[in-house]
Amino acid sequence: MKTLGAVQYLWALSVAAQVAVCVILVTRGYYRPLTVFTAYAFLNLCQAAFLYLIYKHYGFHSDAAFTYAWWSQAFTLVARVLATTEVLRLVLIPYRGIWGLAWRVLGVTSGVTLVFVIAASRGNLDWGLMEADRGYHLIFAIAIVACLALIRYYYVPVDRTYKAILAGFCFYSCVTILSNTALQGVLYKRYENFATIWQVVELIAYLIVQFIWMRALARPLPAKHAQRPVLPASVYQRISPEIHYQLQAMNKQLMHFWKLEEPGS
């Protein structure tokens, strides 16, 4: 009973934090640049209200409540992808070449991860829903980490607010991957109240994300990016192979040096 009370308390706290995020987004006018993200935040609130009514009507442990809860989750998962894409677009749109590259990186990483997820989860029908949820979060987290790495590699400046939004999404997905895995591997076998423990972990992670977003949104958003200088495509096509040729030559020299030093060579 104590743990169920903790879940309810955390849930109420989480709803309060979501309301705070929505209020900040509206009162500060951030819904204009972050339209999809704002829609996502409101959708989360609507989901919370919907779940409250469902649990009240059908009961917390009923099959109907379970089905409705997961269906509502599907909508928010789609909205999360769209909100993330919006933030990435805001960061990368002044860098058209890198934005194009990011899309391709996203496509490849998502495709490869999907294949891995399907292969790893095959034949595990009992945990189908959890596997699907974890698969989604794995694809999502890898895609965000890949984009953040790409952004860092090309020294693209990222405003703290945008970075916090992306990091928040990614953090929650990482925690979900770990908690779903722990639920299947450890919690389910050893603890009777495994579902409650899993819910507490998820709610705490989500609460942390809400606080990260609140703190980030307390700052003013960056002014709209000025048009970045763009080189003609021919310059890249001409210079880039040349630079890479030189880099390769330096690398070969280093390799040559290494081979010269091999004992007995």
Binding site: A120, V145, V158, P229, L231, E242, Q246, L254
Partner: protein
């Protein structure tokens, strides 16, 4: 726990650690300043400028002669000095490589289109160069490396200055006109 669960757990932890690293670590101001300083034309290839002196300092014949005529203590001191020179030279080469790579990244960031294969090649080169650099560095540090081989490293670099100069000038002029250097001053994930 099954293998797939273990794999998911490890991947989850690795992702979390990478996220923390990407969020917390700063893109060094030194790197950005270096990237920006690459833009003006007429950049200086320092290690090339000192190549004759480095080669002289590392000449094996000199060392052999010294081993024959000088006391052991002096030979040991000279060996240490040569080791320091070799390491400093290796670091300069790495610096050169990173500068060039930074320049390639700036060109890519300024371009409306980038070739995926080309960029992947650059990233792979960066990785292999860095690995080799640290291997050689460790061998030099532990005294397992013959110094005369080091001069071979710079053979291909002497032409680099001339071949890159034109390209640097073109990009540098454009950047100066549109104030790119200042736009990169605050670059990176953690600079705001």
């Amino acid at each position: 726990m099954s293998n797939s669960l273990l794999a998911f757990g490890i991947i989850g932890i690795l992702l979390l650690l990478t996220l923390v690293w990407l969020s917390v670590s700063k893109v060094g101001g030194k790197v950005q300043a270096r990237a920006a300083s690459d833009l003006p034309p007429g950049r200086d290839w320092q290690h090339i400028s000192y190549l004759p002196q480095i080669q002289q300092a590392l000449a094996e014949t000199d060392f052999k002669y010294l081993s024959d005529v000088a006391p052991r203590r002096l030979v040991s001191e000279v060996r240490k000095d040569r080791q320091h020179i070799a390491i400093a030279y290796l670091s300069a080469l790495r610096e050169e490589f990173i500068r060039l790579l930074d320049f390639a990244r700036i060109v890519a960031a300024m371009s409306p289109e980038v070739a995926v294969a080309q960029e992947l090649r650059g990233a792979r080169l960066h990785f292999t160069f860095t690995c080799r650099y640290y291997l050689i560095y460790l061998r030099l540090k532990t005294g397992f490396a013959p110094f005369d081989a080091l001069s071979a490293l710079s053979n291909s670099l002497s032409s680099l200055n001339i071949r890159m100069e034109t390209a640097m000038r073109e990009v540098g002029e454009r950047a100066a006109m549109s104030g790119l250097a200042s736009s990169f001053d605050g670059g990176g994930l953690d600079t705001h």
